[in-house]
């Protein structure tokens, strides 16, 4: 601050610095502006007392309000649960059969189920519920264990082949090829027959040989008409939906070495309301069945106009 001087043109004192002949005038700030600065400093001190601020060895000082982002999240979650309480209580008090008919609660249940689905189900069924090889597509109208909301709830509650639930849905298809029940040729014939049922392969000599194999080995579970039996979770083989793939080698593979997919019994992990909401959501995806529709799937598999 050596060279403070009065600028001639304006009569104002300079700050005393010079950069290549350029000097700066010392124009003072208005007082209220200065006060604003002091106020922000006071505010900052208050903030440091009230909120976590000063870093210590392991964590920051807690602050007198004891605020934490984790605590805030817990509060907000509790607040959300309290807001939903009326709806969740009502859903808890009713059966899914009644829920599906309730025009007011069903949309809420679907929304809640969608959220729970994203948290618990997408790992296998995919975020769009379209599944994949070995993981059922929940949007279509083909159901292994039943597609009305009650059956869906049961599946969710007890799971499929879930080892820790006595009431789980279970069945076991033999590995016809691997265990030597059928020869390789017989397996191939059976695959040809099964594929011909949905029009995916021609009804040729192999398929006709396979029909005999099928009648001898498969009808106990899949039925004489091959339309499956839901009490065993045996799939309908005349439709176009294939859980483990509909190509010839995939079908051959399934007969040779049977699959036995597992789904956890969610009743052990989720509360009954969440299960109901999940059932509502899955039921709403476009393929849900009502209680009157026949358990066997479509009337005809091939003409593409099975349902009006």
């Amino acid at each position: 601050m050596a060279n403070k001087k009065i600028d001639e043109a304006t009569g104002i004192e300079t700050v005393g610095h010079e950069w290549d002949g350029i000097e700066e005038l010392n124009n003072p700030l208005p007082r209220w502006w200065v006060w604003t600065t002091y106020l922000t400093i006071i505010f900052a001190i208050g903030y440091m007392i009230v909120y976590p601020a000063i870093p210590m060895l392991h964590s920051a000082t807690a602050g007198v309000w004891n605020w934490s982002s984790r605590g805030q999240l817990a509060d907000e979650m509790a607040e959300g649960a309290a807001k939903r309480k009326a709806a969740t209580d009502a859903i808890a008090a009713m059966s899914v059969e009644d829920l599906v008919k309730d025009e007011k609660l069903m949309p809420l249940a679907i929304a809640g189920g969608a959220a729970a689905f994203r948290q618990n189900c997408v790992q296998c069924h995919g975020s769009g519920a379209a599944g994949g090889i070995g993981f059922p597509n929940l949007k279509d109208d083909d159901w292994l264990w039943g597609g009305n909301i009650k059956e869906i709830e049961t599946t969710l509650q007890h799971g499929i082949r879930s080892p820790d639930d006595a009431a789980t849905r279970t069945s076991l298809m033999p590995s016809f090829g691997k265990d030597g029940i059928l020869t390789e040729a017989q397996v191939g014939d059976a695959a040809s027959y099964v594929l011909s049922l949905s029009g995916s392969a021609p009804n040729d000599a192999a398929a006709q040989r396979g029909a005999a194999v099928f009648q001898a080995n498969c009808v106990a579970c899949h039925g004489t008409d091959a339309k499956g039996m839901r009490q065993f979770g045996a799939p309908n083989l005349t439709d176009k939906v294939w859980l483990y793939g509909g190509k010839r080698e995939q079908v051959v593979g399934s007969i040779t070495k049977a699959h036995a997919g597992v789904m956890p019994a969610w009743g052990k992990k989720l509360d009954p309301v969440t299960i109901k909401m999940l059932a509502a959501y899955v039921h709403s995806l476009g393929g849900g069945e009502d209680f009157t529709s026949a358990p066997a799937a479509p009337a005809s598999g091939t003409d593409g106009n099975a349902k009006p």
């Binding site: 009569g11 003072p28 949007k139 439709d239 349902k307």
Partner: protein
Amino acid sequence: MQSPDKVNKNTGLYEKRKVVFPKAVDGPFRRFKWLLMALTLGVYYITPWVRWDRGPYSPNQAVLIDLASRRFYMFGIEIWPQEFYFVAGLLIMAGVGLFLITSAVGRAWCGYACPQTVWTDLFQHVDRLVDGDRNAQLRLEAAPWGAQKIFKRALKWAIYLFIAFWTGGAWIMYFADAPTLVREFWSGQAAPVAYATVGVLTLTTFVLGGFMREQVCVYMCPWPRIQTAMLDEKSLIVTYKDWRGEPRGSVKKAEKNPGAVGDCIDCNGCVNVCPTGYDIRNGPDIKCITCALCIDECDKVMKQIGRPRGLIDYATLEDCELERAGNPPRPITKALFHTRTLIYTGIWAAIGFALLFALGTRSRIDIKVTKDRNPPYTVQSSGEIRNDYTVKLLNMEGRPRDMKVSIDGLPGGKFWTGDMPREKAGRELTVKVAADKLEPLRVYVVAPDGTKAQKFTFVLKAMDEEGAGDSSEARFDSPVEDEGEGQ
């Protein structure tokens, strides 16, 4: 130019504010200011109370920003959030209008219409009402605190607070049904945000209008800075005609020495009436908001001493040069209409006409289709291919309407919705859409096995006499690739 002896030797961190005590004045500009104050404040306070019948399904407040239901009502116009470009257009018009006004008549906005100016003016009138005119105000300011001063300050600030409260109170009326909100407000049932808004606006009006005043224009407002760049030698600004006024001298001096002194008698009237306390004789400055009160005062003085009016007057710098050289003043139209103002007027009007055209031709029925992409399709057990869509039907009219949704294209395709059984699937469906509402539908479209990926159209038609409609193209995905347009 300041001489060194006027310099504030105390170069601390702050400059003490020199409080302004403007003197009351009368004249054509003051009366124009009164008129504009009545107009702007009147519009501000009365608008929310104007009623407008929109039928049983919509609110009957003429101007309403309904944030909760996301509707913007302005007399006969209703704007949905996706039509917000109308508001954006209005804001652009306001911006260009400000440019236009500035290039034509300088800082007229600052001088007459800016809320800061209007409320400051109002508060200065309160000062005069309670404390008296300039001299009385100065005396009271200098007087020690006593019963009278305390009483007058308390009264004045109470009036400030009253005005400030009503300013904030009127603001919230634009965001809800005004009569209902008033009832709720006073019975303590209004939303917390209403009280908070009134509180904040009361405080800002009280502080900015009652105490900060010209400091807002000088230190806080960006507009004077922008205007500095927009004013040129063709802009009308309040000008002291120094070639006529200088050198200053009293009437007596002029009588003794005719011709030696100019018209300015240095009465300081122009400074005394200035709401920002500026001396216009120093030339244009950020502090001059061109309210023209100094013109009124100077004209009055000139009349008293028998000299022609207009020593301080609206003039462009170009005109000043002409006048200085002894030419007669040009007509005011010359200053108002020049290339820049005409260009701004053109832009302003073009945007206005475009908005009016858009408003006149906009549709009050709309269909919006969003396709589910995950998964792109679902194969049904029958082999049929299903695509799922969220279809939104918008009924922007203030009455319920039956609307027919149908699909065009996609041979063999049928659809059903989430709230009807699949057995009732067909190629068209009639939906009742409530007044002024959006109806979302979950739509499942199935097409026969082997259908290729292709485009088709959702068509919407209102089943009333007008028969307005809309359509939206959608993509149908399939495991069977199409030839041309597949990815």
